[in-house]
Every structure is written in structure tokens, then in C-alpha cells.
């Protein structure tokens, strides 16, 4: 029992974060947040064709921010880019069995980082920089 009102899933993902660390084969990365405001996240994605084959994160932030980062990376593995673009912070929050009301804003961090990484990846692909590497894998 603890007083923090976090669900068992939030505590599980906070204490045993999945996919934590940098990803060696990442070809899509995103950074969002501001340390001065108390949270910041780096997301690493490995994209093959239209699919996210691997994902990882590093997060500076509270329990909710870290749990959201962990859950999000679990959710997007094997997901198409189109589906990942449609993933909402609400979806991650629901997968964690909800968040205390004053922590809901923390769930936007992970979704924002995901969308940021996909956006910058698509821009690079569009400019031709990533084509060879993606096709080869």
C-alpha cells in the first residue's frame, strides 16, 4: 500500500521499466520536455518500412512520466507508423489503468515524444537521407 494513488500498473512500470536505455539501431529519435519543468524524455525507435520494430526510452521525470514512457514503448513495438501517429496520451493512460488527476499532464510527454520522433523520421525519409538504410534492413 502506498499513499500516492498510483495504480499497480504504474508502479510496476516505474519499478521495472521496459525498454529503458538507448537503442543501438535507432533510426528515429525524439526529445521532448524541459528539465527545468521537471520532465524530459528521449525516445528511440527502430523503424523498418512502415513498422516500428523496436523502441526504447530514457526519461527524467516523476513516477507517472517514467511509467508512461515504459508503457508507450511496449505499446508501439510492432505497430505501424500510421497507428503510432494516432496513439493518444489517453490510450497510454488507459493501458496503465489511469493516473491520479494531477498527474494526467505527465502522460502527454510520452505521446508527444513518439509523435516527435515519427515526424522527424518522416521528414528525413522524405528528404531521401534514410532511404538506403531503411530498404537494406
Amino acid at each position: 500500500m502506498q499513499h500516492t494513488d498510483y495504480s499497480a500498473k504504474v508502479i510496476d512500470h516505474f519499478m521495472n521499466p521496459r525498454n529503458m536505455g538507448e537503442l543501438e539501431n535507432a533510426n528515429a529519435v525524439g526529445t521532448v520536455g524541459s528539465p527545468a519543468c521537471g520532465d524530459m524524455m528521449d525516445i528511440y525507435l527502430e523503424v523498418e518500412g512502415d513498422e516500428i520494430v523496436d523502441a526504447s526510452f530514457k526519461t527524467f521525470g516523476c513516477t507517472a512520466a517514467i511509467a508512461n514512457s515504459s508503457m508507450m514503448t511496449e505499446m508501439v513495438k510492432g505497430m505501424s507508423l500510421a497507428d503510432a501517429e494516432n496513439l493518444k496520451n489517453r490510450d497510454i493512460e488507459e493501458a496503465l489503468d489511469g493516473l491520479p488527476p494531477h498527474k494526467i499532464h505527465c502522460s502527454t510527454l510520452a505521446a508527444d515524444a513518439l509523435h516527435e520522433a515519427i515526424k522527424s523520421y518522416k521528414e528525413r525519409v522524405a528528404s531521401g537521407a534514410e532511404e538506403g538504410e531503411v530498404a537494406a534492413s
Binding site: 521499466p17 521537471g38 524530459m40 527524467f60 516523476c62
Partner: protein, 403 residues
Amino acid sequence: MAMTQTTAAPRRIYMDHAATARPLPEVVEAMVPYLSEEYGSPQSFHTQGSGPAHALKQAREQVGALIHAPATQITFTSGGIEANNLAVKGAALAAQRRGKHIVTTEVEHYAVHHSVKFLEKLGFETTFVGVDGYGRVDPQAVADAVRDDTVLVSVQLANQEVGTLQPVAEVARLVKAINKRIVVHADGTYAVGQIPVDVDALGVDLLSLTAHRFYGPKGAGALYARKGVRLTPLIHGGVQENGKRAGTENVPAIVGLGVAAERAAAEMEARMARVSGLRDRLERGLVERIENVQVNGHPTERLPGYLDISIEGIEGEGTLVRLDLDGIAVASGSACASMALKGSQVLHAIGVDEVLAQGSILITLGIDNTDADIDDALEEIPRVVETLRKMSPIYGKRKHYFR
């Protein structure tokens, strides 16, 4: 799913005495009769009223003795917040025909700060005096802020967040030398019961205190008001507390306050030596074991149990929750650890780097902590910090500014 071995819940180690403290057994024992057979109102003339009336009188003497004040100058309140509200609003409103200027500091508790802000809405003006890197106010700067229309100066005895002791006696001396009629208030809600306090040595007119921080119950506090200092009551409707605070007294809690005050006075030096000894060992140990940390507050002029530490690269709320799951209760000054989601004003005022401030934890020890608690904390805290730093995208990558 595989069977998992269940482990016993970890031993709870309480290191958040700034929030509140466990009441002493003798405090609870003394309160019990006043929750049942001694239920009478102290204001009643009949027999049932006499026991509680006597108990109030005794508690007033016990509280007075703790701060070296006559019992007649002690007004009981519902706690430290109310005592501070009564001091600041009560003194300012009573003196408003003489002037409407207040001098206070940038690091006061919200009980004082928000009371002053409320008075500003009624036409008062305030000068907030800043503090140095240790959180200490310069008495001369307070004196320099005094104007012809200043009626109240309010400076805390000790800071609620970093534990720094303020030079209140010097503030009072300088202010009184300018104008004797200026009321000097000290918020003692974090200091009384922890360090020796003498209202005459301090030279203050008003002093607030609360029971639950020195092992008394919640729901009882007091305001010392020097003879002749005028206060406008905030709660109307009865003659209790000499008309300064209406409402049937919370006799059980006040009895508990009295006993806690008596024990604090009797054990003051032994408690200070033990608690500061534990704190010093914890502080040295953490600084040795964790790289890139900064201890906030004054190195020596600090409350005995206080250790506020900023840890680079991690965030305080997560640290707090992990330590809690390990059985250790601490507090944090990070934005995420506050319900209001605002970073610490105190750390900002003392100039702690704003990213570093997010990684601040406040450890406050008390008389119930043991050497074994310190051993466990010295093991757990560095372990939690190491784990969270591995997750952090900023640790070791960005330049922070340690003092």
C-alpha cells in the same frame, strides 16, 4: 504465471518530521481522559467544567515555560497556520490606523506569505526581503526595509524547507531601535520544540508554534503575544482565549500540546545532540556515496534534523516514491511532488539551479530515528539514485551549477 515468493513489507522508516511527527505515548495517554470522562467545557461554571479548565491552565503554563513566556500571554489556536494567521492579520489589522506597511522575507511559510498577500488586497503594502545562498536573511536588510508606516515585521525562526535558522534576535533589535511600536513576529512553527527559544532573548512581540512538530497532536498550536500587543481577532463568537480566539477549546489536543512542550523543554539538549548527530552522519554518508549532489541550507545554523539535498539528473517525486516503496518516507521540493505542481519557492529564492531543484529531497529526522535507520537510508538512497540516473537522459550531459 510462475509463483513468486512474497516478501514481508519493508520496515517503515519515517524521515519526514518536517511534515509531522508521531505523538509521544505519554502525550496520547494524557489526552485520552479529555476525549471521554473529562468532556466538560472549560468555560462552564459547573463541576464538569473544572477539570478541563484546570487542564487548560496547566497546558498554558507548560507551553509558556517552553518559550520562557508567562502563561497569561499564550493564546491557543487550532495549530501553527492559525497562529501565524492571527499574528500577521491580527497585528496588522489592529495597527492599520498607524500605517499599512509590512516587512517580511521571501522564504516564509505560506501561512505568513498568503496572510500578507491577503492583507495586500485590503490595502497593505509589503516589502519581501531576499535571502543569501544559505537561505538566511540579512538583519540590516530587514531594518533598511522599514518605513515610517511600517507596522509589522515578520521573520521566521527557522525555514520550513532547508531548516536555516534566521537571525531573529538581531532583526528585532534593529527594528525596535528604529521604532518600538513596530510589532515583530516570528513564525516558530518549525523551530519551537526543536531548539531553545526564549521570547525575551529574541525580543519578539509575537511567536507562533505548533504541537505536532514536536511530538504533540495535530489540532493544537499557540500564539505568544507580549503584554500590550494588540491583535484583532479573526474568529468571533465567544470569550474564549481572552476574546482573541472564539470557540470551545480543543481540550484534548491542548493537553497533548502541554505535555509535548514539557517533554521538549526537559529533553531539549539531549534530543538536539542525538538528532543532529544522526543527521550529520547521514549527510556525510550521502555526500560521500553520491556524486554531484548539493546540500541546501546553512552548514551549521540549521535545525537539528534537517537535510535538504539536491541530486543532479533525477527528479524528486520519483525518488520519493521509490524510497517509499523501499520503506523510507521522505519529502521532495520538486514541482511534481507538490499537488500544486509548482517548484519550491525557497530553493528558487536561495538560488538553487532550477534543474537541480527538481531533484531535491528533504529528509527530516526526529527523536524516533535510530542508527539502523541511517544505515538503511545510506544503503537505499544511493541505490535509488543510481537506478534513476541510469534512466535519465540528462544525467552527466548537461551542465548544472553547484554552489
